[in-house]
Symmetry: C2
Subunit: 196 residues, 2 copies
């Protein structure tokens, strides 16, 4: 009698090891330095396993993003809309400023500009993140801080867009003051819905 | 007696030819496909000339951006702040949607993610563009539409940031309605300065 196996047990362990290795490689070398060989070696699996399942760097990045999208992240809950949005934009600012997580996140974004698979994965990833963060605005609606008609996801995107614009388009630094200002602008907009 | 030469005449012509070739190559192959060989061949110059003066693809992109920053662009002047900002965001949306200019502009942004030289050139390029576009807000101040204390460059950046965020971070399409909405949000903000 064969020993009982959890379905997908080994497959799931391989995936975890490979995606952990992908993240570690991205943190060290960025997207341009990501190779299947290095990932396979770090994960302790044969490189044909990686090629067969992930095809190449863009497939690794897409799957790493898919896993990241399912990991919970700490949505701020300070008791006010402004406080929450300030905490959110500060979380984004500090995340990209961090040598490790910032390098990985930047590598994801760089990959999105170079491969449609990575772009699609980023789209799904950020849709999940913005849906999660929309809780900030929904709680403000419950507290009566803003009208129920407000588009919660739009407010979240308004708060973070200026940070991404500076970091990846105009290549200007983002200070804590600028992160706070972006949050305040979004909060002001939430309180004053624009007629369309 | 040697014929009189304009100082830098030939040098300037070579630069024009090489940067035109760079732009044409970017429009066809994007940044990842940009090679010194292809640029030199298209420009009709020797590749050592290109290597010596521009070093590589990132140098070509940086110089092409420097040239682009000096070319005038049509700042909208419709008579109202909302009209001008809507025309501005539509200009950005349509520019990136255009198969030729959009591919070139996207290649510039991708280059900025991969090389510090290109990033520095993008920073200078967008600083010039935003300063130019700030005229939209400054005219609104003169007309009495907004208070003189408003940060004109910030309003311009607020108007365009959501478009870049969708195009290059979340990889969502940008519709004309979304471009208009981003303009309306920025206009509303300009009319209601946020206390800091």
């Amino acid at each position: 009698m064969e020993p009982q196996r959890r379905p997908g047990g080994r497959s799931a362990r391989v995936r975890e090891a490979v995606l952990d290795a992908t993240t570690a490689e991205l943190a060290t070398h960025g997207y341009q330095g990501l190779t299947v060989d290095a990932v396979a070696q770090r994960a302790g699996v044969h490189k044909t396993t990686v090629y067969r399942r992930w095809r190449g760097p863009e497939g690794l990045v897409a799957d790493a993003l898919e896993r990241a999208a399912q990991q919970p992240w700490p949505i701020p809950d300070t008791g006010t809309l402004t406080g929450d949005l300030r905490a959110l934009t500060e979380l984004v600012r500090a995340g990209f400023a961090d040598p490790e997580s910032g390098t990985v996140a930047t590598a994801f974004i760089a990959a999105g500009m170079q491969h449609p698979d990575a772009a699609a994965a980023l789209r799904t990833f950020y849709a999940a993140r913005h849906r999660d963060a929309a809780a900030i605005v929904e709680r403000a609606v419950v507290r009566g801080e803003v009208e129920p008609e407000v588009d919660a996801v739009e407010i979240v995107q308004l708060a973070v867009a200026p940070l991404f614009h500076r970091l990846f388009i105009t290549h200007e630094p983002v200070t804590t003051d600028q992160a706070r200002r972006a949050a305040d602008v979004a909060a002001a907009l939430a309180r004053m819905p624009i007629a369309t």
